[in-house]
Amino acid sequence: MKQAGVVVGELGLQQLHEALQKGVFAVQTGLLRFRIRSSFEDVAQSIHALYAEHPFQLAPEFADFHVEVRAPWNLRRWLRPQAEFFIDGDPPFEPLPRDQAPALLEWGMNWTIAASCHQWFTLHAASLERGGHAVILPAPPGTGKSTLCAALAFRGGWRLLSDELTLLDPDTLYANALARAINLKNASIDIIRQFAPAAVWSPETYDTSKGRVAHLRPPIESVRRMRETASPRWIIFPKYQAGAAPLLTPRPKTATFMPLAENAFNYSTLGQTGFDAIARLLDQCDCYDFVYSQLDDALEVFDWIADNSPGLPAEYAA
């Protein structure tokens, strides 16, 4: 399949809106091609902002997934406008208030990948690359994973692979890039606005189930190189703690197995393949816990990690 050379940003907003209305617009994100239909103008604006550097096609022969965001066909929409996400005519979740449509598209695309892409071992984790090696940041919501990920991607000299979904090839364990928008919540939005003033954002959405959210366009470099994989080298569990001095602690591998399994979307679906993938991943990675409060400190620590292959004791060493 030939890769179109044109990126979304070269399309006028009006043209993009029309293509979305007709359901012919397809965007390439990493190895996946999503064909998207929506007549909502704010969805078009959001795609225009967040995918400006991504290649697109109009009415391609093949797309991996066909998704749509539109008003649900129920009576309620006359009282209070809503938006609903569909994949192949099927809505996997309840409609949301109309103004959350752009965010709903992003979440729906994430859901689609997590629910269907069992060709990969999929972790709920951010991943970034430097020097051909990947760092994986698994963490439950609220630990500051996305904030740290945004800081590393915009100012830390790391290439963003993915903020939400780490996609590992179960044979080679290479991490595949998605190079999609970074989803930030509440105070993190303001922190990153200050930290990376040049970044491009989608409009903020208020009162979602996660509070106030906004999406951040991935750095151009990460999009241009989104077909380059990286071999995982570090697994780091970040934790933001107000006022804390930066503290990097090696983690025993035995104590890292289960948290990784719990952060995987398809650990049990892949059965033995999933078990083997984690075991081999732990074999080749150094594992750490990382507590921080200042992003500048965090960048310094991550520089140190990338530059040194620290001599860890046997039970920790890769």
Binding site: M1, L31, E61, F62, A63, D64, H66, D88, G89, D90, S116, C117, H118, Q119, N266, S268, T269, L270, G271, T273
Partner: protein, 362 residues
């Protein structure tokens, strides 16, 4: 056009070696329909078995790999779950019959290949159903909080206990004492099914006799209010018929005779009809002629089922399909209940909904 696009999927399911002639645009359609109809893993397995998988276009490959991983997992999971159920019920010393998907998987039938499974359904003698419920509760299954009306409704009129979910695994088991509700129009005598059940080798379980498995699958399919798994069920039937008729020369006459004995000729007749019309499955003319013809009723059935069986997907959907689905949906309860009971039941449900909504808003 709409029928054509569904045809692409249906033909491919029956003749997977044709897969190499599909264009990439065809694959785009086929994968979408297969995913929506819960058939993608079945398709992937059949492409894999017929040796054409590696010759297919690169963009198609990951979707087949993913679908195979999913069905392999589901099959392992259902066999594993059956093992837990066996352990829980073994002390009772009664024949536990695995129905439908779980039965196909544990008996290793072709119908289980690439099938996606739902809950585990078992059939036990009605006289022992309380013991079964108690034994399952002891091992962690529970009906949870259930509305007293629904609870009583299940126990008085239905052919099964309220669904029981396992507290830790979250898996659901439906315990049946018959294959149709006591309130339905043509409920078979459960004892006939139990007597004919066959033990599985190296296993604590039984399955229904081959004929009864076909009849049950058909009965279930044509009593359902929705056909979201309708195509999958038709393919189940095709696989069962292929396998059983190859093992037993007298299978077809035995099957039609058994349907008569159980009073379930009509679902079998409909199954034959739509296996032929939707899947192009060859039903022997002899077998068809042994069942009563109902040409007038078939006009109505065709109007509902021919569009109803197509995947519920924007590519196939026509206004006609929408209307057919609505009517089929309303037909489900009608088949499962006598009119008086149906009116009382729906009346109460509507009233309670109204009542609950007002109390919530005040």
């Amino acid at each position: 056009m709409t029928v054509h696009c569904a045809r692409l999927l249906l033909d491919l399911m029956r003749a997977p070696t044709e897969a190499t002639s599909l264009s990439l645009a065809d694959w785009d359609t086929v994968l979408r329909l297969a995913r929506r109809a819960n058939l993608i893993s079945r398709l992937a397995e059949s492409l894999d078995r017929s040796g054409v998988r590696n010759a297919l276009p690169t963009p198609v490959q990951p979707h087949l790999t993913a679908a195979l991983a999913l069905s392999t997992h589901q099959r392992q999971a259902i066999v594993w779950e059956a093992r837990h159920i066996g352990t829980a019920l073994q002390p009772l010393g009664l024949p536990v019959i695995l129905l439908k998907g779980a039965g196909y998987a544990v008996a290793n039938l072709n119908a289980a290949r690439g099938r996606l499974f739902g809950d585990v359904d078992i059939l036990v003698p009605k006289s022992r159903i309380n013991e079964v419920e108690a034994a399952l509760m002891l091992h962690g299954w529970s009906t949870g909080h259930i509305d007293p009306y629904d609870n009583r409704y299940y126990r008085q009129w239905m052919h099964e206990l309220p669904p029981m979910a396992h507290l830790k695994r979250g898996t659901v088991i439906d315990v049946h004492h018959n294959i149709l509700p006591d309130s339905a129009r043509n409920t078979p005598t459960a004892a006939l099914l139990l007597q004919a059940a066959v033990a599985l080798p190296e296993n604590p379980f039984y399955v229904l006799a081959p004929c009864d498995r076909v009849i049950h699958s058909a009965t279930h399919l044509f009593h359902e209010g929705e056909l979201s798994n309708g195509l999958r069920d038709l393919f189940d039937l095709a696989d069962l018929l292929d396998e059983f008729s190859a093992e037993d020369n007298a299978f077809w006459p035995t099957l039609t005779e058994r349907a008569r004995e159980l009073g379930l000729e009509w679902p079998l007749r409909l199954a034959f009809r739509y296996l032929e019309h939707v899947l192009d499955y060859p039903i022997p003319p002899d077998a068809k002629s042994r069942l009563v013809r109902r040409p007038l009723a078939d006009l109505v059935h065709d109007a509902l089922y021919l569009p109803g069986f197509l995947p519920d997907h924007p590519l196939c959907n026509t206004p006609k399909a929408g209307i057919a689905r609505t009517i089929l949906y309303q037909r489900g309860p009608y088949l499962r209940m006598r009119p008086g009971l149906l009116v009382a039941h729906l009346g109460r449900k509507a009233f309670m909904r109204l009542y609950k909504n007002t109390s919530r808003s005040t």
